[in-house]
Each structure stands twice: as structure tokens, then as C-alpha cells.
Amino acid sequence: MPAPTSQPTPGSDQTPAPNDWTDACARAAWAGLVRCRRFEDAVMDAWRAGDIPGVVHVATGQEATAVGAALALAPGDMVTSTHRGHGHALALGTDPTALMAELMGRRTGLVAGRGGSKHLSDPERGLLATNAIVGASVPLAAGAALSAKTRQTGGVALAFTGDGATNQGAVFEAMVMAVALALPLIILVENNGYAQTTASAYASGGQSLAARARGFGLAADTVDGSRVDLVWSAVSRAADRARLGLGPSFIEAAVGRLEGFFSLDAQAYRGADEVARLRAAACPLARFRAKARGGLDDATLAAIETDQADAVDAALAAARAAPPAGP
């Protein structure tokens, strides 16, 4: 098995926050990070309690990519996502109650309980759709990018996708297409090191995903995906390029998956110490406190955290109280 080459590591980047990372950014980012974390923790609890049918794929540990990207986008921009999309929706502003109700199969769910965890859509907030066919989010976003380009709206489209998904033909085809048509597209890969139980380094033959994309002619960057400020900055640059008509970008963000692949995953394929190490080194919340808080003091962070926790708790209660979707 070839050794991983030039794959970024979450939690490794020690550069300071970008200059234009203001306290307002930091405040919004922190709110987003804690909302996402609290929400996913609530999801796991609700799932364990039997309130969420089926299985769920939470994005615990991957909050910074969702929040950083959403902060960098503008109204009218369009996002597509994957089976692991709760955080993306929340970061874009989706109502947590509607989202939780969807996961619980309630009539008041985001798509009325028809979709569940893997099939979300909230176009008014910029979430075109999530997709449970891995890779499919990318060409779909290329379509939103084509629309923005043709209609000259100045908009961009961003596709979240995973490391495993980037081995799908549809993703490569979308890259070829985006380069040939100079689409205002951003592909943001959350490389959490695994596709189900399969290591990214094995499946991608140890190749750098960003380098692969560069070979297609996309502007390609790697970023420490545990740093919300660096993600924000990378997506901002990519969006600027796209709006200037300079074509598509690819961002490989190294993130740590702090839970299993899905709620049933016993994770026998990775040592318990790996999760502990990731929690210590690559937790986006801890990384925010250490690197991206700007002028915000502990009390401010705590107040925001309380607000967000209250909001999620209220969402949970409201979703639980909502009527089940039925025929």
C-alpha cells in the first residue's frame, strides 16, 4: 500500500488567523461551531434514545468546514452536500427545528419527513440539496454554477464532498466540465481520512486529492479543516476567483471525524487512541479558542454557547413534539 503523500493533517496548521478575520467573523463562526456541535451531539443522543429512525451520519469534528465555507459565501450562492450534511445546512442558516424534525421523520421536517438525514434541501438559504449517492453533489453544484455564469448573477456554487467520494467518476467529470466551461464552482473536500472503514490513503493510492485536482486545471489548495478561519479564507479566495470568471477551485480540507462513519459504527478499524488524539488536536472548537477567537473573551464565548445550546434544545423539544409524517 503506497504511503500517503502530501495529504494535509487536521490540527497541524499554526499560522495566525488571516488579517481580515474580524471579531464579527469570529463571533459568527463561534456561534456556528457550537450550534453544529451541540446539534450533532443532540442527534446522537436522540438516535440512541430511539427518536431518530434508521442511521445517521453526524459531522462531529467537521464543524469548521461547514461554518467557514458558509461564512465566506454570499446570498444567492448555492451549496450542495452529502450524506453528512446536517452541519452544512445549519451553517447556512437552516432552522434547527425543521432539520431535527426531518431526522425524526416528522410532518414539520425540512422536506416533510420524505427525505430524512441524507436528503435535505433548503434553497432559500442556499442549500440546493444533499445527496446520498457519493460524489453526486459535485456535478449538481456545477449546474448551479453554470446557471450563475449563464445568467450572470455573480453567484458561485460550492459542493461539499468527501475523500471517498472524490474517487467517483462523476466528480472527475465535473472537474473536467468546470475547467472546460470555466464555471464558478468550488469543490470543498472534507478529507476525514476514511470512506466507511476504508482509509483514504488506501483508496486514493496515497495521492494528494488537491494535486489530482490541480492536474485537471483547477486552482487547488489544501487547508487545515479544523481551523474555521483558514477554511473561511480559502473559500473566500476561491469565491473571489470564481466571481472574477477565473474558474473553478478545489479545496482539500483535512478534518477529524470524531464519531463513527455512522451511528452504528463500532470503529474496530481504528484504535480508540485515534479519536482521543483527534479530539485533542483537531477539534474545531478547541482550535477556534486557540487560534481564531480574535478579541472575544471567555465570557462572550460562553454566552454565545449558552444561546446556541438553548436554541438546539428548543429545536429538539419542538421536533419531538411535532406530529409524525404519515400517509
Binding site: 454554477a145 453554470l146 449563464t150
Partner: protein, 362 residues
């Protein structure tokens, strides 16, 4: 030489387009080819709505940048559109059909009305995921009102059919596979007038539509405007009392021929062209069966015929006096050699013989 006239060349397709362009004043007055009717539908729709874009391989043509009008796609249907509407609306793509269809879906959900030229229908299978897992599902999952992710006003055009020596992977019918996707509308024009009318409707339609064009029909001619049947209505092409023969796309002509042959022998066959298979006009078919009591279907896609027969058995059983008679190719890929290929899709004599047996033994 006969083998050579059927596949369209860039040259003959451009000719088709220019001859249409020569008489824009009264489009229905003089006969046009099926190809030119399709071109006209695209041209009119693009002129009327700036959101309509054409996407495909070589749809502009000419080294990716459209030399003097370009080739207009493999069958010449999009010839001239690049000159008129430019590269932003006539979009040459890499050979990446899966991304193409998925991109069309994303574009449709966000304000465009893409018309994808898939070239040969066989290529739909490299792009089946966006068709089956997204386009056929998004409306029900996410809602299909404007602004919702399942609002997918997009059209996919593709060519199919035996008879042009294209071989196994450039001839297969697709409609049997699409019939299992109820959210995707499905039109199969058999005349220039229907080519124009159905494609025009498809582009205007709020739902995803696949338009399947039979390769043998591109050079056939007829008036541009026909008797304006609405979308979803089947056409009784020939009246008869002894059997109802549903004939799909390229099978309409041999079906009519077979019916005429039998007419001399006291058997009058009603030939019905469904025009669209989704929606399927069960009303017209049932009314016909009420008159004839016998159902035959001739279709290059046996699976599609079986599905339609199954539906009619379910819904119109009481009208049937005999088993449905499916006049379809034997299983297996479309063969190349003329002698084999010509024996593949049922021709007029085979259709006539099957009908004769249906109407006498049945």
C-alpha cells in the same frame, strides 16, 4: 448506397437546417424534415426564452469553438444555433455525460431550462445515476415548485433505433428503461409535426422530459404543423375495427404499411401512435380497444411493450378478446450486418402476419 443515406452527416444536416431557414415566414406551408423540425423547435424556444440553453458534445461543433455554424451535433439537429445564440447558450462539453446530466439538473433547479443533447440513447447508461437517483426523485423529495430543488424544467434529447448499421451500442431503445421512472416524461415523435410540437412542449414543460428521436426518421419529411393534438394524447393514425395496433416511433411507418396490406384481405387494423409514453394515453387506447377487442403492440423495445401490455391487461382486461400480441425484436443486441439488422425490428410483412394471426386465430 441505401446504407449510407440514413446516418446523417454534418453536411446533410446543415443543408436541412438552411433549407428550413429559407422559409421562415410560413413554417407550416412546405414540408420539412424531422431534423429541421427539431432544429426549429430549439430555435423558436431559444428565441422566446433566454433561459433555454443547449448542452452536449459538438452541439456547437468545430474544435469546440464552432467553425462557421459548426456541425450541430452528431445528427445536425443543433446546426446554426451557435451562430444565432452564441457559446453561452450553445454549450459544447467534454465527453462526460454523467456530469452533463447532473449539471443540467443543477442548472434547471436554479433558473435555466437546459436541453441536453445526449447523442445516442445508449449513452444514457453512463449517466443513469443523475437520471434515476436524482432527476426522477427530486420532485417528490424536495418539491417541484419554482425555487424548489425538485423543479427541473429540463429536456434530454437522444437518438435511438435500428436501421442505420450503427451496431449494438449505438442503436438500443431506451424507453423501456425510462418507463419505470414515473417522474420523467417521455415523448417519441414519429413525424416532423410531432417532433416540433412535442419538443416545443417539452422545453416549455416544468417537469423533466426525455425526447427520443428515431434515427431512421431524421430525413423523413412532412409539414411542420400537424393536427394539433395536445401533449399526452395519442394519435389514431388509421382507423380500423379488427385490432388496435400501438406502434411506437420508428414502428409507425411499417405498422401503417402492414395495416394497408391487410386491408386488402378484409382485416382493418386501427393504428395508434402514442406520441408520449409518459403520460400514456390510456383513454384513447381503451376507446380503440372497445371498438376492436384486440391489442397488438409493435415496438423496438420489447420491455416497453410488455409494460404497456401489463398496464392495459390491468386496466382494460374486459375489452380484450384475445391475448395481447407483442410484435417486437427477439432478445439480444441490435446486430450490425444489414441482413441481420433488417431482420431485427419487425417489418411490415412480419407485423402483418402477426396481425393476421391475431385477427383470425385470436
Amino acid at each position: 448506397m441505401t446504407d449510407r443515406t440514413e446516418p446523417s452527416s454534418a453536411a446533410c444536416s446543415s443543408a436541412g437546417y438552411s433549407s428550413l431557414g429559407a422559409s421562415p415566414a410560413d413554417p407550416s406551408a412546405e414540408p420539412v424534415t424531422y431534423r429541421a423540425a427539431l432544429t426549429r423547435a430549439l430555435d423558436d424556444a431559444m428565441a422566446a426564452d433566454a433561459g433555454v440553453v443547449v448542452i452536449g458534445e459538438d452541439v456547437a461543433g468545430g474544435a469546440g469553438a464552432a467553425a462557421q455554424g459548426g456541425t450541430g451535433g452528431a445528427f445536425g439537429v443543433t446546426a446554426g444555433l451557435y451562430d444565432r445564440f452564441g457559446a453561452e447558450r450553445v454549450i459544447d462539453t467534454p465527453i462526460a455525460e454523467s456530469a452533463m446530466l447532473s449539471m443540467a439538473a443543477g442548472a434547471a433547479a436554479t433558473g435555466l431550462r437546459p436541453v441536453v443533447d445526449l447523442m445516442f440513447a445508449d449513452f444514457a447508461h453512463v449517466a443513469a445515476d443523475p437520471l434515476v437517483n436524482h432527476i426522477a426523485q427530486a420532485g417528490a423529495l424536495f418539491g417541484d415548485a419554482p425555487g424548489q430543488a425538485g423543479h427541473l424544467p429540463l429536456v434530454i434529447r437522444a437518438a435511438f433505433g435500428a436501421g442505420d448499421r450503427s451496431g449494438a451500442q449505438h442503436s438500443q431503445p431506451l424507453h423501456g428503461a425510462l418507463l419505470r421512472l414515473p417522474a420523467i416524461r417521455l415523448a417519441l415523435p414519429a413525424t416532423p409535426a410531432d417532433a416540433y410540437a412535442l419538443l416545443t412542449h417539452a422545453i416549455a414543460c416544468a417537469e423533466p422530459v426525455v425526447v427520443l428521436e428515431h434515427k431512421r426518421l431524421y430525413d423523413t419529411t412532412g409539414p411542420l404543423a400537424g393536427d394539433a393534438l395536445p401533449w399526452g394524447r395519442a394519435r389514431v393514425v388509421r382507423a380500423g375495427r379488427d385490432a388496435t395496433l400501438l406502434a411506437v416511433a420508428g414502428q409507425v411507418a411499417p405498422a401503417l404499411d402492414a395495416a394497408e396490406r391487410l386491408s386488402g384481405h378484409g382485416i382493418e387494423v386501427e393504428v395508434v401512435d402514442p406520441r408520449t409514453l409518459n403520460p400514456l394515453d390510456l383513454g384513447t387506447l381503451t376507446a380503440s380497444l372497445a371498438r376492436t377487442g384486440r391489442l397488438a403492440i409493435t415496438d423496438e423495445d420489447r420491455c416497453a411493450a410488455e409494460i404497456v401490455a401489463g398496464r392495459l391487461a390491468e386496466t382494460a382486461f374486459a375489452l380484450l378478446q384475445a391475448p395481447p400480441c407483442l410484435i417486437c425484436p427477439a432478445p439480444g443486441p441490435v446486430p450490425f450486418a444489414p441482413g441481420l439488422e433488417d431482420a431485427w425490428a419487425p417489418d411490415a410483412p412480419r407485423i402483418a402476419e402477426a396481425l393476421r394471426r391475431l385477427c383470425t386465430d385470436g
